[in-house]
Point group: C2
Chain length 101, copies 2
């Protein structure tokens, strides 16, 4: 299992809330910022800005856009993320701690 | 168990995403709006505005303020909510479907 993003990229990811069931992360970066390889459990993303990213996962790259307040599901995965847009990224992640039923 | 807020107050609550593990609700209201009695499972609230509410639960009332982007935990509960502020409310709720481990 790859590392926790709070460990790999503490200047980009911070914990804003945690209990036995969830952990809520805040993510902020600037254009050109790139994370180290890290692991996410199943989670919900809540974009607080509209931003563009390149994700490197499973040996391929995908380019995605996230739209302000357009919440969505992110299945457990390891990736590297890079801000390829012209503005800062800002998002909250609600990570699920319980494994799938 | 009290009713689902999407059933009791469909003009205030809407489903924006759902799978087997979570349901994400969007809540919007205006000053003076009041919900019917409804039930929430354990969930995370993500306020998208700063707003003030009066909650009626377990025969008592509490007044709370939610601050934009200040995510927090809401344990399972039944309540009536009322907008007692001067501005519209706006929030997302990430409801957990799995029972506590």
């Amino acid at each position: 299992m790859d590392a926790d993003p709070v460990i790999t990229d503490p200047e980009l990811y911070s914990v804003v809330f945690e209990n036995e069931r969830v952990r809520v992360l805040e993510y902020r970066d600037r254009p050109g910022d790139r994370t180290h390889l890290h692991q996410h459990p199943d989670m919900v993303i809540i974009p607080l800005a509209t931003f563009r990213r390149r994700l490197t996962l499973d040996g391929r790259t995908v380019e995605i856009e996230k739209v302000t307040h357009d919440a969505g599901w992110v299945p457990a995965q390891s990736h590297i993320g890079e801000n390829i847009g012209d503005n800062d990224s800002h998002a909250l992640f609600v990570e699920l701690k319980q494994p799938t039923a």
